[in-house]
Amino acid sequence: MKKFWALFFWFWPLVALYVCLIAPGNNWWFPSKPLSTMGHQIDGLFYLILIIVTVTFVGTEFALGYALWMGATKEPGRRAWFSHGSHKLEVVWTIVPAFVLVFISLTQLDVLADIRVLARFPESVKEAPVAEVMARQFEWRIRYPKPGTELMTSPQPGDLYFVNEVHVPATVPTMINLRTQDVQHAFFVPRLRVKQDAVPGLIIPVWFEIEEAGEYELLCAELCGWGHYKMKARIIADSPEGVSAYLTRLEREQNEDGVQEAETASVK
Amino acid sequence: MLKFRSGILTLASGAMLSLSVGCTEYGQPAVGGGASVVPQVVFLASESESGDAESAGGAEATSEVAVGSIRGRVQIVGSVPEMKLLVKAGDDIKDKEVCAAVDVPDERLMVSNDGGVANVFVYLQKAPKGGRPVTAPAEPFVFDQKNCRFYPHTVVLPVNQTVRVLSNDSVAHNTHTYPSKNNSVNSGVAPMDREGKLEIVYRKAEAVPLAVKCDYHTWMNAWHLPLDHPYGAVTNEAGDFAIADIPAGTHSFVVWHEAADGNFVQRKLAVEVKPGEETEVKIEYPAALLKL
């Protein structure tokens, strides 16, 4: 009976390790490999921390189980051994984790700066955001500048509007201006590992470089109300020519006067 | 240990009970409940089983039926309140150059010197058996407005007759009808529109007269009554009305006026129409009914 608890505390970490090992094979892991340049770095940080934490976890659980086992297998009636603590041990297990944490925080500085510090954004994106993504309960309103002009903070005549679908160029660093109309939302594209909170009153530039053309899911990652769970949009990464053709179609649709039929199928 | 085991059992049994209640199955008649249940769909035939061929509108024309007519007056009984002008010439109101160019009386109660009440509707609610059907004349009915006043103030119309809305004012109006059974019309009328570009057609008979107003000049008011039979009339300035060729028999007339409390002066005025004769009908309108 007493051995049961030692075995119990050894068993679960082993199960956890096993599940972690088989997870990627069973598709219980990330939605896909990271498909943006930043995504690789973020995944790298994630794995670094995962490894550090796993080593610590296995080590401590093993020690716990060992202590229980020792307690369980000693004969009953044996005198207990009293300890008044060990100063040396306490120092060691304060300094070592401190170093580990400082190491982690220093390692991630670069990545954080690349994502958040405007000065470190790629040159090509800084001046020209592709679109303004305005989050609102419970949809994403997109405003593109008139083709051939730059996106301004305030709406301009000729700006193109759409909802819940963003077209951006792939393999080219791209930036969007993130805003919110009402409460806090978050711009989260899991397959790109991009996540940024949208804060009322702020215009937050978010940049990414998508590696593969295709469709990506944009989710809201900050609880914003009853519809938060279904606040999704599509990000369509296309070649720059494809994006520009889309914007031309959108412009034509937006200027529809009911008399001249749209030459291409309406933008859906 | 015991406490632990019993706790788990409690939770498990509670969970199982609630899960079983909430489950539904696709394709079956609606099972369980809640918003996600797939409903059963039962198809109904188009026509109801007891649908009669003759519906409430339109009566058969028979030349055999003996007809009579009625003529009468709506007389106010009791003291008539003094009616102030709705608009006095020169009043400072909206578009006063046009709307306050002349005096406009308050048409809610127009009583002649003899006490006859104008603009009272007297009509049969349903087409009587053996009555004539009504055909809409090809000529449209002209509904005009001048000095922010509708002309005429009241009218009985056959269904499907086109009403052409004209304007004799140099300001824009907008004609907004408030029917119960027909489709509402809310459309702008250009100034000095003598052609009458706006046309209104009432396709269904109404049970009571419907209001016609202008949203720009909210005091403008008129009443239209589309009927699917010809047995309806409005009293003239003297309070007189006449309806001809009514199939003989006892009929129940509605007497309706905009200033009466509840609008009905009489809900069911029984009148016996004798064949070949003209029945005199005196309708008393108690002043106590007035709600102005």
């Binding site: 301009q156 | 009970l17 797939v38 198809f43 519906s55 049970a207 949203d215 809900r267």
Partner: protein
Amino acid sequence: MKSHVAWLKRAGIAGLLSIVVSGCSDNNSSFSISDRTRSLIPEAQTGVSEAPGVVKLLDEKFGDPQTLKAWSKLPVQWGGASAKVEVFAADGADAKVKFVAGEGQTFPEKATFVNVVTGAGAGRTLQLSSWDAATGEAVLTGLGGATLAAGDTCSIDGGAVIQSGRVLYMRHCSHCHGTAGDGNGPTAQYLYPRPRDYRHGVFKFTSTNDMSKVSREDLLRVLRYGIPGTYMPSFLLMKDEELTAIVEYVRFLSMRGEFERKLVNELASDYSEEAVESRLKDEQRADIVGELAKFLAEDVPGVVDGIGAELEESWVAADSDEAKIVPSVPRVPDSEESRRRGRELYLSKTLNCADCHGIDGAGNGPQTVAFEKNPITNVPYDEPGLHDVWDNLNQPRNLHTGIFRGGRRPIDLFCRIHAGIKGSRMPSFKNTPHEDIWHIVNYVLSIPFEPEPGATGVASAPAAPATEAAAPAAGE
């Protein structure tokens, strides 16, 4: 603690937990009954002896959310194909049947059930154990003694669209729009503007002319792109079939609401509580109820069919080409001149836009305080102003925000002006020359970008009589 007491305690806790999790009621939803229906006397609502009243008739023709009734008269795409029975041959407990597709209908590739519409088996759902779409031959099971005769109308896999529509509607729409589409779901009280009440059959943002109803295309458009400036979100990410199904269900709910409203209209003038109260001065209640019973038994079936025919006509017409607004001229190119002309028209006495929308387009014109009472009932409003047919206070649009609820395309604005906004106090200006409407559209699209409000074109509002003389020429 004694063990049987402990087990009783546990059973009690388990029971309590399950109730807390699943609720006490049977979880069935129901369609609400409108206030107008509730203003009738009880006999008119429920019926007198055998003759059904409004509530029963509604249930007969439309059902409840668990069992929907598909009244074939209504122009709703219930799903499935309508067909007639050609040959029926009983074969033990099953039956071999040959169907002929109805006019303009194609058989679905796969089908699992048949809804019988007319004939001895009307209202039943029979299972198809085999189905051949090419020939229309099938084997029916679950007959339970019912027989079908040649000429009986059936619907193959009938109701699939409306079923799916209902499930999706309850999941995505009912919390604001209500189970019956009455705009009074649980979240509705927190929203401004309020969610649409479908029961009038009126929808504001349409591309059809002022006398027509909303088309399917318009409803799909609203679902796809949402209504900016309101709480109606976009459902662009839903599949086309899902959106189509929801549109059909919304039309169904709208027709149900209209049916209720029209039926009550027939009864209200004589049998509402108010009317009966005034009639009691001259008549006995028993006589009134007797009259009502006669009316319900003899006349109402015809009325019901008449209402069905009206609904069929109006909703089918809404999708026709005649109903759609097509400008007679293409949009006048957007230019300084056109905008100036637009502003002139805006301020002119011909159109009176400034009366509601304000001299500078801020939505603060004098008409916004002109309506103190409901023009029909003369009951004073809680807040004076322009009210729509749902009794909500409408602010005329502030044109400076650049938010266009019905869409920002030039054709959308054209339709708003041409047909007005149905249900609201924005009237239709269908008799204005189309070129003039385009000038106004160009002006309105430019208002948000004016350097200062009212800066476009004419500096001062021409209210002097001089322009009135010019006004007749506007009818060009």
